[in-house]
Symmetry: C2
Subunit: 344 residues, 2 copies
């Protein structure tokens, strides 16, 4: 019934050769003759030999596991990012250990500890929205566990990351709205701890100034990304002197919260008040009242790049290249996508 898997040693004893020869033969080591090599491979195939990964992991002192810590798996952005991470890692025989911080700084810290204990080879992190200290990540580097941040990148120096530059997309977004005739353009931004919030703000300012318009700080408010927070933010904007006719929101969820609330105030979406957002979630395809445009952040690409970088770092470590040249800072340019829905 439960036939034990074949081992290298068994193959060796059957062929009356040493285990090391078998190992080398299977790895096409040049010092093994063609005849024995083919004999070994033939028998291995016959016996359905599969290398014992746990033994290899142990022997190599590596787990071939990369940890992934992100806020919320059920968010479409992250699940497609994970999908990319998974695909990329699998191709190089790496396994993905997944964990969600649920956007809590405390949980995030605990997870970092757990990952360390699990001896992951490296870590991919998208930080919780309110994480304010970053010592827990620094400590991992002491253990020689490289970290690559993606998407939610903290504003600290000397880290590897791949992020999406929100500035370009934001400039495009504001320009788009200006072209449509809007002048009072509001922004519901995210928490100030996030790099992306700063970029959005910068993009907003640059676009305004680039069009010889003055920047009105009261039109940019931040929120905590919750439904209630969005309501407050929208109230604030609607109460401002120059009532905006268009609003750029931090992401699609905020946008949908805002749209929902605005409709409850009998504001007609995209005629009285137009929305532009970020993320371009698939659920937008099902909606009736949606942002007129959305800034795509390329989650699959981000996940892929981040994993590539991490695997590269792990190889560097292998090669004992103590001085890795520099920090990877991959920036993907965001891109405004106009929302072309059917007639809905």
């Amino acid at each position: 019934m439960s036939s034990k898997p074949t081992t290298i040693t068994e193959i060796a004893s059957i062929l009356n050769i040493s285990a090391s020869t078998v190992s080398r033969a299977l790895h096409d080591h040049p010092s093994i003759g063609l005849t024995t090599r083919s004999k070994v491979k033939k028998l291995a195939k016959e016996l359905n030999y599969e290398p014992n990964q746990t033994a290899i992991f142990f022997q190599k002192g590596k787990t071939y596991t990369i940890g992934v810590i992100l806020p919320e798996l059920s968010e479409s952005f992250f699940s497609t990012a994970v999908s990319a991470i998974e695909d990329t890692a699998y191709k190089k025989n790496y396994t993905v250990l997944l964990a969600q911080s649920h956007d809590s700084e405390l949980t995030e810290k605990q997870l970092v500890e757990k990952m360390k204990n699990h001896r992951v080879d490296g870590l991919l992190v998208s930080v919780a929205k309110n994480t304010s200290t970053f010592d827990h990540f620094r400590s991992l580097e002491k253990y020689n566990i490289p970290i690559v941040f993606f998407d939610r990148v903290p504003e600290i120096p000397d880290i590897h990351y791949v992020g999406c530059n929100m500035e370009t997309g934001t400039i495009e977004a504001v320009n788009y709205l200006l072209k449509k005739g809007h002048r009072a353009i509001g922004m519901i931004n995210g928490p100030k701890t996030l790099l992306a919030s700063g970029q959005r703000r910068e993009g907003y300012i640059k676009a305004m100034i680039g069009n010889r318009l003055k920047f009105d700080p009261s039109l940019v408010v931040s929120c905590d990304l919750t439904e209630d927070g969005t309501k407050e933010a929208l109230n604030e904007l609607l109460a401002s002197k120059r009532k905006p006719t268009a609003i750029v929101t931090f992401n699609d969820y905020v946008s949908l919260f805002a749209i929902k609330y605005a409709r409850s105030l009998n504001i007609s979406i995209n005629t009285d008040l137009a929305f532009v957002s970020y993320a371009n979630l698939p659920l937008i395809n099902y909606m009736d009242h949606t942002p007129v445009a959305s800034v795509e952040q390329f989650p699959y690409l981000q996940g892929q790049k981040a994993t590539d970088i991490l695997l590269d770092l792990l190889n560097q470590k292998n090669l004992k290249t103590q001085e890795h040249a520099a920090y990877y800072r991959i920036i993907i340019e965001s891109q405004l996508i106009e929302n072309k829905k059917g007639f809905l």
Copy 2:
């Protein structure tokens, strides 16, 4: 810089005792005296000792990894199920190896092979929608790797599974519509390979007959769950002699596709044509035109139960209980949830 982690042997040599004593002390083995035990634990804490998992995995001949194969991670149902699996597994020191079949039978087979090679201890599977043969799963059992199916459960005997009984929810759904006065109730069902499709059909029939209504087979059509397939199915229903005033759809996506298409035909949703669906996706909260009710399938609970069962099976295996009593068949009753939206 890269301080190597402490090992049991190091602790042993510092205290001038044997490694086995240290190991036993840390595990509170009764044969170790109180004094040495506390000495060991104290030093272990000081040196920040963390057991080398790879060594333990290797030694125990287990990977402490459970594989998860599911169709699509980005579907909200599965991502919350994975969330549950992850949580449950982590508590027992298990790691989750994730893979997506993208609803392809071929990919699924390849993944099963990969999982075997990775020596996962057990497998959690939700099958691809068109998987028709199941030998690839059977072969794993020969290797003593237990499988627990969840949600998308194949219709084959002698398997462990946790599923959601769609019959009850469907009966509730049809009763609900009947109560609202509908008489011509259509159903857009899923592929016939899925157990859940049969259950929905059964529930539909039982509800009709239970209300002394005759069952009209032309009102139940199946579709492949794609947008185009949904259109076809809806066309078919609309063309039938008794044009339905309400439709029960296989899941929320199908429902939304159908609603989208129906609106394009100028059919007024929930007045001309009411929809009831399954899954109760969060995105429903953002929609304007949604099903009036949805059958909840409890993804978190399913993931949790399935993991519990798998871990239990793994323990049985440990205890060399060759004859495991029987097959786990956990069935969670689905439940109709009325869609109480604000004024939207």
